[in-house]
């Protein structure tokens, strides 16, 4: 871990102290908890998964309500959380069949799985994505990830890494946060490690002490005396740049260009020719996420594990994009165009494929985190949480007896959270089988007492996540949301 002791021993310790990260720390380092946000891009619907309604339960509403043939809605022993296992001959106009299984995830992870109903406040993708991360500006506009990074990330090289896009990658608006708590964006998980060293991987360039000398002459002699520097010395942009430059050397020392490199040496990525190597965990993550080259989300998940395992980050965000991903030889739609939002064209297929995709991916990521010890027999997973953030749900109606149809955005929905720190094997709230609308719960009762006729605001999920992760929210006026955390 990139901790304070290492910093103080390093040649650049003085520089980092003045850069403000260590200097600004006023309390002892806290044992971190880890937040992984998986953006369910496009709008994932709880009534197409964990709160699915059987046709026999919907009564007179059944023909026009988004409900399923009874046999597709699975009840799992030991839990009220449901799952939908389904298949189809096409994905809208795309002539590819699919089989989508959710039940395995519920069966395996039910004790850590928590379903929480809520009603959002925007049907705009970008705005709603950001609100899913800020609780609709619940705490001065800071995102969940920024809050976790600010709490635990001071001793981490890149506390908050974000591989998503659109609203999921936007910074929050709380200017009181240190700059290092803001997310570090990653456009391409496969190539991003090349951004973590200023010289390695380049041919025939000077390195080592000579490069360090050139940097020192630039930083200590050329720049301070230049008219440009002296004229604009109050510039916040320059101040930030200097601090980031100082951190650069620490990133290079950590050899992240190797540790986070998922790829193996190949004609497309001739690592050896450029003095580079794959991560010691490269083969392991490639085995768990074999589609890392063709499916950006699998590469993101692999990198997310490496960032946490190598104690580089305390929070990582990944998400499928709106781009279509096809496995042509297998005639499989891996990621429909617009991801969950393909529900506008083919609701059942889009929801089924995407839910199975995200749950399967999360299960594999959890498996890796479970297998990696944090300390004293405790695994990384024991200290982690996965939050399936999403924009909104989908409309609850369908054309009479249609098994495939178009759906719109709908504010009424909920979220799924999986974590040993959450109030697992619990549904907070419920769903009305006659309307498909979710309703609320008592947020302070760990039993998850449902309250039909009520709707829950985004800030409750936001507060519940932060408190389950042990983030100090003093002064924020956030509700306790005790129902969302594991109470022992």
């Amino acid at each position: 871990m990139f901790n304070r002791r290492q910093l103080l021993k390093s040649a650049s310790a003085a520089a980092l102290l003045s850069a403000g990260r260590v200097y600004g720390q006023t309390q002892p380092e806290k044992k971190p908890k880890f937040l992984i946000v998986i953006g369910a891009t496009g709008g994932c619907s709880l009534i197409d998964s964990f709160l699915a309604i059987r046709r026999s339960e919907a009564g007179r509403a059944a023909p026009t309500l988004n409900c399923f043939p009874d046999e597709q809605v699975k009840s799992i022993d030991g839990t009220e959380i449901r799952a939908v296992d389904s298949s189809g001959d096409s994905v809208g106009a795309i002539g590819a069949s699919y089989t989508a299984i959710q039940s395995e995830f519920v069966r395996k992870r039910k004790n850590d799985l928590m379903i929480v109903t809520q009603t959002g406040t925007s049907v705009n993708h970008t705005i709603a994505q950001k609100r899913a991360l800020t609780g609709n500006e619940a705490w001065n506009g800071r995102t969940l990830q920024e809050a976790v990074a600010a709490e635990y990330g001071a001793g981490f090289a890149l506390p908050n890494v974000n591989m998503a896009g659109d609203g999921y990658i936007q910074h929050g608006t709380d200017r009181s946060l240190p700059s290092w708590a803001l997310n570090e964006p990653v456009a391409n998980a496969l190539l991003w490690p090349l951004s973590l060293d200023g010289v390695r991987g380049l041919k025939d360039v000077p390195a080592g002490e000579r490069l360090a000398l050139a940097r020192r002459i630039r930083d200590e002699k050329l720049e301070p005396k230049s008219i440009f520097q002296r004229k604009f010395q109050k510039s916040e942009a320059l101040g930030l740049w200097r601090r980031q430059r100082m951190s650069q050397q620490q990133l290079e020392v950590l050899d992240l260009i190797t540790k986070l490199n998922i790829q193996a040496d190949s004609p497309a990525t001739p690592l050896g020719q450029y003095g580079l190597a794959e991560s010691p965990d490269g083969a392991r993550v490639r085995e768990v996420f074999p589609r890392f080259l063709t499916d950006a989300l699998e590469a993101q998940a692999a990198l997310a594990f490496l960032l946490i395992k190598n104690r580089i980050s305390v929070t990582v965000t990944i998400a499928p994009s709106f781009s279509v991903v096809l496995d042509v030889p297998a005639r499989e739609v891996v990621n429909p165009p617009l991801a969950f939002d393909f529900s506008h064209n083919a609701h059942r297929a889009a929801q089924a494929i995407m839910w199975a995709r995200l749950l399967n991916l999360a299960d594999r990521l959890i498996g890796l985190l479970e297998s990696e010890e944090y300390e004293d027999g405790e695994s990384f997973w024991d200290r982690s949480m996965i939050y399936f953030a999403t924009e909104f749900g989908r409309s609850k109606q369908r054309p009479r007896d249609a098994e495939e149809f178009s759906s719109a955005h709908d504010l009424n929905n909920g979220v799924a959270i999986v974590s040993p720190l959450a109030n697992g094997n619990k549904i907070l709230g419920g769903v009305d089988p006659a309307t498909g609308l979710t309703y609320g719960y008592d947020p302070e009762d760990p039993r998850g007492v449902p309250r039909p006729g009520t709707e829950m605001q985004e800030k409750l999920v936001y507060a519940g996540i932060l408190h389950a992760l042990g983030v100090d929210t003093s002064g924020s006026a956030l509700p306790d949301a005790r129902a969302l955390r594991r109470n022992v």
């Binding site: 970008t126 964006p185 456009a187 060293d197 200023g198 000077p206 000579r210 002699k221 510039s235």
Partner: protein, 197 residues
Amino acid sequence: MFRELCLLAIASATIVSCSNTPNATSGSPDAGVTPPIEATKASLRFKRNERIREDFSQALALAPDELCNELGAYSCTDTVHTIALGGVEPYVLGVREPLEETTSTAPIAVDRVALSGCTKRVARDLADPQSAVIFRASLGDAGARREAIVRLYERALQRSPSESELAHLEELYDAAAGDWAVLSCYAVLTSVEALFY
């Protein structure tokens, strides 16, 4: 009377500001040079990927697509480090607006682009002195080094270096010798004056 006083005030302000305009040997508090007036707003912007690519390419007389390619194939400024360098990627990532602030990895990405480009420029100049753009003569000669730095500053920063800047980069030669040209080029291209406006 009031109008004449206003005109006099404006003229005085103009004279003061002109005296702080960078002259032919600007860049340092060298003897006789008036210190610059500190900007109160100091509103600077990072050049971002496209401008860095174009400015560096022009300064180094390299085609934009040969400036820097990771693993010999992937454009540094347009593929690998696009977002880190403040660019956008609206079609896949949905990043439609550049990040407001520079990222932790932005200085690293800049280093890679500069080192790659400088290495290429120096190699070409030394291989073909007749066509050399920046490093035209034997760099073992102090005079040749001085002239090279002047050309580098003029191409990269559109000004001449000050005497102190020349001296500092000459200082680098003693320790860097054979790498001096690349490292001098790197130090200038990665200076904040080359990256912000």
